[in-house]
Symmetry: C2
Subunit: 384 residues, 2 copies
């Protein structure tokens, strides 16, 4: 069997993702599509509009064969760590190539990686600009290009992770179809995930741009997952916890604990809070992730320990996916998890379990304990 | 000027409280009524249906002259500590007597205090019954009576605190009017606070049993303060915090941290949670207070430190109240606080401030920082 790997969030799963799944098979000649997907919180630190089981179901019904959860401590991370985690899992899953969308699929991302290795030797010294701004000034000088589009940034991160980990995965960039990430319009049959979320928030129809499964799930939302709803939990924790405790939160650097406590005391809404927190030094994504680490009480030592114990949590598979797992099983170096029992809840999967409990603010359904993988009969290939 | 002291919660302020204020003047001949009142959380560990400023206003408009907040660390406590705190403040305020309602005002509570001093010498050994059950078995043997009604229990606690603190305050018990604490009907012009809260929850009219100010405030509630609304904050904290951290919470004894974490993981609603937590060993009130300490992250050392730094936080006064304060000012041994500035927020009043922030789940209004006392012109005496 020949596999190809995809790295996804599916927030939510839409027609552009179906195109991506088909194109990956077509380009690589693979007959098994292995998908690594963020769980209930995204790389940006936001709760997903549909839960990980709903998104797994939609992916399996539309061309995926095996869906693996990117663990919370790898998923809710800046692009380079997100990519690094996903590549580790896909390498363990013996995937010979990955296919991903990029705004500039023709760029020589390997050249960018070499350029960065050179100009990053001394680090960045300015504190009044984000990391991204300083990075791009250097990259522009070295290559004539800047990384500003989200999928270009991830494409670069995948190349870098492959080089760093010295794994034999071939990265294949393809053009994104139909709409850009920032494009908020819904016309035709493909729209960006972000545009779809906005449409759902606004009560506008999205049936033309998502498959049936997603449309159905979106029409039965108990509440729309959102930081507004999580904010009272974050706010109370920031107010009640001593400063010394806040300082131990993962990525709580440069006195941000004081800014966060003060902003929480003074802000009744999340919008107010995050605006008060924002400085030129940090992007919104960075701050959203920090909010997530805080409400989860994630600590530096905890994250480091978990990063040294990666695993393959299977969210679902087709017949082909199951067969593929069977053929590679003996060569897989990471633990394969099909069920979260009490031991996993308290140890290996503890952070995913806790993220799932936080996510229960939006849904009554248990997200981890004793949940069995989604299984669909037949192959993931969509019949046309 | 001659003062009398009342110890109250006013949850909410109703016609029975007006009777209490009048009766206190009448019996003692006092012309100034000094009221010590719980803040935004009650002795039982529940958020008050109206905030402390609304309840202060209602009290001042209906016969009180001076309203002092019983600090959080004294108010949200079992009856004996609640009484102990209130008596400390009233003694500092130079009050020669207190008047309180009791279900059995004719009982010789001083005799009960002596009996208890005797039978408590060896402590209680049984772990399958609440403290109250074991206490009453002993009291019954010694005096022929049992303390089961809430106001009898408080009456006993006031006597005990006065004896213990050796202060020259005369305790005067009066009969409660109109309805008992557990009586849930609203007939006539007096109903219990508990019956009034139930009526508000059920959307039934309460105008006949509360003064205008209370009726007006109750008809403009943003949301009805309730543990159901606080539960997501408590739940997430219990799930995310390490067991070792939960163990440091005030009154977290005998492995309750494990029971609480497990119950939080498994319960989506507060009712489910508290039922799962309940054992014969603990009363609901004890557990509700523990929930409050937990969501506030109150720690043993913090509470002990605050208990050694009591203060008189003035929530409001009438002209007579202000004059009374003026006459006693030089002899008052505790700090008199009229405003919570940044220093008070971070130190002396820190727990009250944090409780107020928690209470902001129910109201957009800042509860402490820079709030000025309620002032009403004229005396607290109600003109008939």
């Amino acid at each position: 069997m020949k596999a190809v790997g995809l790295i996804t969030e599916y927030n939510p799963f839409h027609n552009g993702h179906i195109y991506h799944l088909r194109k990956a098979r077509e380009i690589t000649g693979a007959n098994v599509v292995v998908v690594v997907m963020s769980g209930n919180f995204t790389q940006r630190g936001e709760p997903t509009i549909l839960n990980k089981w709903q998104r797994t179901q939609a992916a399996l019904e539309n061309g995926a064969d095996l869906v693996i959860e990117l663990p919370t401590f790898m998923a809710v991370q800046p692009a380079h760590r997100f990519a690094d985690g996903a590549i580790r899992l896909l390498a363990a899953l013996q995937v010979p190539s990955i296919v991903f969308g990029a705004e500039h699929p023709d760029w020589d991302f390997d050249q960018f990686v070499q350029a960065e290795a050179h100009f990053m030797k001394d680090g960045f010294a300015r504190y009044n600009a984000t990391f991204a701004t300083q990075f791009n000034q250097e990259l522009k000088q070295a290559t004539g290009h800047t990384l500003t589009e989200p999928n270009d940034i991830l494409a670069f991160a995948y190349h870098k992770a492959i080089v760093k980990q010295r794994v034999g995965i071939k990265p294949v960039a393809i053009a994104r179809q139909g709409s850009q990430y920032h494009d908020q319009s819904i016309t035709g049959t493909i729209a960006s995930a972000s545009a779809i979320r906005q449409a759902v928030l606004g009560g506008r129809p999205v049936d033309q741009v998502v498959p049936k499964q997603t449309a159905n799930d979106l029409s039965h939302l108990d509440s729309i997952p959102d930081w507004q709803i999580l904010y009272p939990l974050l706010r109370n924790y920031l107010i009640q916890a001593p400063i010394g405790e806040l300082q131990t939160i993962y990525q709580m650097t440069e006195g941000l604990e004081h800014r966060m406590k003060r902003a929480a005391q003074q802000s009744l809404t999340f919008n107010q809070f995050i605006r008060q927190l924002k400085t030129k030094r940090y992007t919104y994504s960075h701050l959203l992730r920090l909010c997530f680490y805080t409400v989860m009480q994630m600590r530096e030592d905890q994250v480091q320990m978990h990063l040294q114990q990666p695993y393959l949590r299977i969210l679902g598979f087709s017949n082909d996916g199951r067969q593929y797992l069977h053929t590679i099983k003996k060569r897989v170096s990471l633990p394969l998890i099909t069920k979260c029992g009490q031991a996993e809840r308290d140890h290996l999967l503890n952070l995913d379990y806790r993220a799932g409990k936080l996510y229960q603010l939006f849904t009554p359904y248990e997200q981890d304990l004793k949940r069995a993988p989604v299984m669909i009969s037949g192959s993931g290939t969509v019949k046309e």
